[in-house]
């Protein structure tokens, strides 16, 4: 189906289904219960899952297929964000033009940086991309303030021209919308103790992520994808096979940059604010970590990695000592105190510690990333019972 083989079609359908059902799947715990803290089914976080999913899918097209490790991909995300906000300011508050222009602008930016950086390979390429991105970051925060809003960032305001829109009423800054439907609009469904939120912005981003995922599968299975894998495997043989690797690499780099721009465009569509820190090396490093954590070169891996890191960042950072006391209230006083003390360093402001340990744990025990872990579980299941698909799907759950 869709020009994919059965296995890929199944993967695509699973991802699509998970995206659609995420508001249920991510909210397994009743409102107000002690474990409600672990619910991730609120719009802001779900949006982040899919948007960073897009970013990581795009990064993986470059890194997974060609092995070229870009350390400056955040620059394209940032460029896309700025372009997106400008569209929301100048053109219309409808997010569609903003998202499209974000992608195109990031693509052009990637063309420029890629053209220069791809003259080198290996770590030299990584450092060139890093250098360009850091320059973009520094300039965006200082000299380019008229375009980027400097350190305060760029945002929509009441006085923006928005030439395609009718004058806004009521003196409020209009919220990004798609044909009248606001991104922040949500529909809440209450089922007994449970509360599920269906958010416009999330579903828009979700649909785009599924599309982006679909395109990525096509690229992976195409002759173009095969050529890129061959470049990764043996560049020398490629030259003596009559292939000019440079345009292949550049095309790949631009596509990957466009994915980053798309992610940037979606970010500002959800929240019309773009800051320079989005371009900083830490942001570039994050997408590298997402991809490696999930499983470099696999289709679903980057999405899982993005989901897991964002989950940790948002959920673990919000757990505090009070909550811990609640959870362990059933223990005798001494024990309760003890458990809270033990767990305390890993939560709240200490969530980075958990993340660091997670990175180390995954690399040490699951060299292929989360996908490798999923496959191991799947194998475990399939040995016990014939339908081994359960393992793979349970793995995808935390991300979607």
């Amino acid at each position: 189906m869709f020009g994919l083989n059965t296995k890929d079609t199944r993967l695509l359908l699973i991802v699509a289904l998970l995206v659609v059902l995420a508001p249920f799947l991510l909210n397994p715990f009743p409102e107000g219960s002690a474990l409600a803290q672990f619910n991730a089914g609120y719009p802001d976080l779900m949006q982040r899952f899919v948007i960073f999913g897009v970013f990581a899918i795009g990064f993986n097209i470059l890194f997974g297929l060609t092995g070229y490790l870009s350390f400056g991909h955040a620059a394209f995300l940032g460029a896309g964000s700025y372009a997106g906000v400008w569209m929301l300011k100048l053109l219309t508050i409808n997010v569609i033009p903003a998202i499209i222009i974000s992608t195109i602008v990031a693509g052009m930016f990637a063309l420029l940086i890629g053209f220069i950086s791809l003259r080198r390979s290996g770590i030299y390429f990584s450092i060139l991309t890093l250098a360009f991105a850091q320059m973009a970051f520094a300039l965006a925060a200082s000299v380019l303030t008229p375009i980027t809003g400097g350190e305060t960032g760029l945002q929509t305001s009441l006085n923006d021209p928005r030439i395609l829109d009718a004058a806004s009423e009521g003196g409020n800054i209009p919220a990004p919308s798609i044909f009248g439907l606001q991104m922040r609009d949500s529909f809440e469904l209450s089922v007994g103790e449970w509360l599920f939120t269906f958010n416009t912005g999330y579903y828009l981003s979700g649909i785009i992520m599924v599309l982006a995922f679909y395109v990525a599968i096509r690229i992976f299975r195409s002759p173009f994808g095969l050529m890129l894998k061959a470049i990764k495997s043996n560049q020398q043989r490629m030259h003596y096979t009559g292939v000019n690797t440079r345009p292949y690499m550049l095309a790949c780099f631009v596509i990957s940059g466009m994915y980053a721009g798309l992610a940037g465009g979606l970010m500002v569509a959800m929240d019309p604010l773009a800051g320079a820190e989005r371009m900083q090396w830490t942001a570039s490093g994050e997408v590298v970590l997402m991809t490696i954590l999930g499983g470099t070169g696999t289709l679903i891996g980057p999405v899982l990695g993005a989901g897991l890191i964002k989950y940790f960042e948002n959920i673990f950072s919000k757990i505090n000592d009070n909550l811990l006391h609640q959870w362990f209230a059933f223990l005798p006083d001494g024990m309760e105190e003890f458990m809270v003390t033990i767990i305390h360093p890993f939560i709240g402001k200490g969530w980075h510690l958990t993340l660091g340990l997670l990175f180390m744990g995954v690399v040490i025990f699951l060299p292929g990333g989360l996908v490798e872990g999923g496959q191991r579980i799947a194998r475990l299941f399939s040995r016990k019972k014939p339908s081994g698909k359960d393992g793979a799907t349970t793995r995808t759950e935390p991300a979607e």
Binding site: L69, L128, A131, Q134, V143, I292, P345, G356, V363
Partner: protein, 342 residues
């Protein structure tokens, strides 16, 4: 002209820090083939060795005496415990000299940390892809950083240089400029000299000892050295310890220049990588050279004169230089062919 000289001087101490970290990174990369993202954390740990020692020395204990205040209440008198051991005058001096003393303290600690890291973790990653090495050492860097944050807090901790070195040196009048035209803090001069000595020591060690010879041979051709039946593993461990100590010492001595905080390592890490690559992967001389060049360039770009003409250049000059160098010299300043190019 005086500004010019001042900026060269300013560039030297920053360049020294870059050079020292890059030197350690290159040592690890060249000998072990590991991309160590935790190297900035080692720099940071070194700085916190100083903090620890200075806190330890000035730890207050009860003297057992009681002081009667004017109102008749009795307060126990406390003083740093070291007064009790060394007497007040010597004790005072020792506390004042905490930073230089940390050199002695940090060498065994940092070597220990380095050896532990290599044996416990890095060792298992020699044959793994660079991506895995990056992820695991990055994870380790975060963990180390968070541990430090947990115990020392997130704020900067001021650790002054000994009183004797506080203040500045009037370099201008020495070389015939107006008095006070070129003022340079004493401690920065010391930092620069210290790093020169340290760099020279590392080079001498590699140049003149049998151990260093084997390591250098290993850097240029690992397989052959392995085939010669030389126990390269133990040497790798020691090398890692030394590289950790170099990064640590760079951190120890840097504390009076910038008060340490838990993320100072990350701040230096990225630039150090740029320095290493610009110097040429695997080249020790290149790392040191690039460290000083980029450090000096950065301080030149911060000159008022330059900033007026090229606003924002101070923020990007290192990266700009890196791009120009890498495009004109494909393997950095002194890099060899084929190292980490695929």
């Amino acid at each position: 002209m005086d500004q010019f000289i001042l900026q060269i001087l300013n560039g030297l101490d920053k360049g020294s820090a870059y050079a020292l970290i890059a030197l350690g990174l290159t040592l690890i990369f060249g000998t072990l083939g590991v991309v160590n993202f935790a190297h900035g954390a080692l720099f940071m740990l070194g700085a916190f060795c100083t903090v620890t020692l200075s806190r330890f020395l000035s730890f207050e204990v009860d003297t057992g005496e009681v002081m009667k205040t004017a109102w008749g209440t009795e307060n126990p008198v406390t003083e740093p415990w070291i007064y009790g051991t060394l007497g007040e005058v010597t004790g005072q001096t020792v506390i004042d000299w905490a930073v230089p003393l940390s050199i002695l303290f940090s060498i065994p600690v940092m070597i220990g940390i380095g050896v532990l890291m290599e044996r416990g973790l890095i060792k298992h990653f020699y044959k793994r892809p660079h991506a895995d090495q990056i992820l695991v050492t990055f994870g380790l860097a975060i963990v180390l950083q968070e541990i430090i944050k947990y115990y020392f807090g997130a704020n900067q901790i001021a650790t002054p240089a000994p009183a004797a070195f506080v203040g500045s040196f009037d370099f201008g009048s020495l070389i015939g400029f107006d008095a006070n035209s070129i003022i340079y803090p004493y401690w920065r001069i010391i930092y620069f000299c210290f790093s020169l000595v340290l760099i020279a020591a590392v080079f001498a060690f590699l140049q003149f000892t049998t151990f260093g010879m084997v390591v250098r041979a290993g850097m240029s051709d690992r397989e052959t050295v392995g085939l010669l039946g030389i126990n390269i593993d133990r040497r790798f461990t020691i090398m890692f310890g030394i590289a950790a100590a170099v990064a640590g010492l760079a951190g120890v001595m840097y504390t009076p220049i910038v008060s340490p905080n838990y993320h100072m390592g990350m701040d230096f890490l990225v630039i150090s990588f740029v320095v290493v690559v610009v110097g040429g992967m695997g080249s020790l001389g290149g790392a040191v050279l690039a460290g000083f060049i980029l450090g000096t360039l950065e301080s030149f770009a911060s000159m008022q004169f330059v900033l007026e003409r090229l606003p924002g250049i101070n923020q990007i000059v290192i990266y700009l230089a890196a791009i120009v160098i890498l495009l004109t010299r494909p393997r950095g300043l002194l890099g060899r062919k084929g190292v980490m190019e695929d």
